[in-house]
């Protein structure tokens, strides 16, 4: 029983890490789009020019949190990959984050 509780706790914190990174990636992705627009359409340089250089590493951290969560929750491979890919489409990472959080909370309370 206590083992189950501590496992739940570990899943909770893995979920929290995933949620933080999903939001960071989602916001980063929007900034990236804004940067592309300013840079290639408006042809101006802004401080946003640092975004492309770091966004890939931010996304990497996102992948690690998805990876962690997917093994804890024993997701099928396809689900893990889809959640990873959701992080590359503007706004979809927010949707994915919301659904995964709701689903995981439902599972945790059910068990």
């Amino acid at each position: 029983m206590t083992e189950g509780a501590s496992q739940d706790k570990a899943v909770e914190s893995a979920l929290m890490r995933f949620r933080i990174m999903a939001w960071t990636t989602g916001i980063g992705l929007l900034l990236l789009c804004l940067n592309m627009y300013l840079r290639y359409v408006q042809d101006v340089t802004t401080v946003l020019d640092v975004v492309p250089r770091i966004h890939g590493f931010v996304y990497m951290l996102y992948l690690v949190t998805v990876f962690d969560l997917s093994f804890r929750l024993k997701w099928p491979l396809s689900k893990g990959v889809l959640v990873c890919l959701a992080g590359t489409i503007p706004f979809l990472s927010f949707v994915a984050e919301h659904r995964i959080a709701r689903e995981t909370h439902a599972d945790l309370t059910a068990s």
């Binding site: 340089t45 250089r53 990876f67 099928p76």
Partner: protein
């Protein structure tokens, strides 16, 4: 039967892994390649008179880039720029570039790099009168070397020796190439510019370099994921043999993928 299913499933996964890793490796290499500029050259030996190998209105022939040339004429100290961010022996400084009017070239100006100057030093005046200069012939520096997003520089400073940019500053006619002065040796505080290497590979675009590293990291991550999947699968199979926590962990798959544990049963 179940063993075959398992094996084919892992074969497919392994193929997907190979594709993903190769794609990441290739994309990373491509970005890395874009981030660098490699210059290889093998100019003929010996010193040639400048006008024999390069004339105004013509580009510097590729095989003559890096050639040692001799040129006579005089400096026009009214036309002078400094090229910013030039390193020499690990120190940051500028190149001092002055227009040189070679005799017999009908007033066309040749940019001559008189030397390297430590950051912040005052520029010594160019020598008056007839000069004989021996130096390395170079072609106009490509715009690709420009640092993206750099703001406009103060008057009299340039980022690189571009004949197009110098034309607008110095008025035509102008040589397309330029010469890095070797002899006579520049007087202090000017320092002679180091002889250009025959093969140079330099990272000039850090953005592409960062993308390259990111692609490789994704590839490594895919391998990591795959290895972890194998380990989890092994543990599950071992647990199944034990007969402990068999069905309780299996949740129905929303995506329709059959879990390996079910296949095993």
């Amino acid at each position: 039967m179940s063993g075959q299913l398992l094996t084919s499933r892992w074969a497919v996964r392994f193929l997907v892994l190979l594709v993903v890793v190769s794609a990441c490796a290739w994309l990373g290499w491509w970005q890395w390649d874009r981030a660098r500029v490699e210059i290889v050259r093998s100019p003929p030996e010996g010193v040639a008179p400048l006008l024999d190998v390069h004339r105004p209105g013509q580009v510097v022939p590729e095989e003559q880039i890096g050639r040692r040339v001799i040129v006579k004429g005089s400096f026009d100290s009214a036309r002078e720029v400094t090229v910013v961010d030039r390193q020499q022996a690990g120190r940051l400084g500028v190149w001092v570039v002055t227009a040189f009017l070679p005799s017999g070239s009908n007033g066309a100006a040749l940019p001559v790099v008189r030397g390297w100057l430590p950051q912040g030093e005052a520029i010594p005046a160019a020598p008056d009168g007839q000069q004989r200069i021996v130096g390395w012939l170079e072609s106009t520096e490509p715009d690709a070397l420009r640092e993206r997003g750099r703001g406009p520089l103060p008057t009299g400073q340039v980022e690189l020796i571009s004949s197009a940019e110098l034309l607008s500053l110095w008025q035509p006619p102008l040589f397309q190439g330029f010469v890095i002065q070797q002899l006579p040796e520049p007087e202090p505080p000017l320092v002679g510019v180091e002889s250009p290497a025959l093969s140079v590979t330099a990272v000039v675009n850090w953005q592409n370099a960062a993308y390259g590293v990111q692609w490789w990291l994704f590839g490594i991550f895919a391998i990591f994921w795959f290895v972890r999947m194998i380990r989890v699968d092994r543990e599950d199979q071992a647990a199944m043999v034990d007969g402990s926590n068999k069905v309780s962990l299996d949740t129905p798959d929303a995506t329709g993928e059959i879990d390996t544990r079910e296949v095993g049963e």
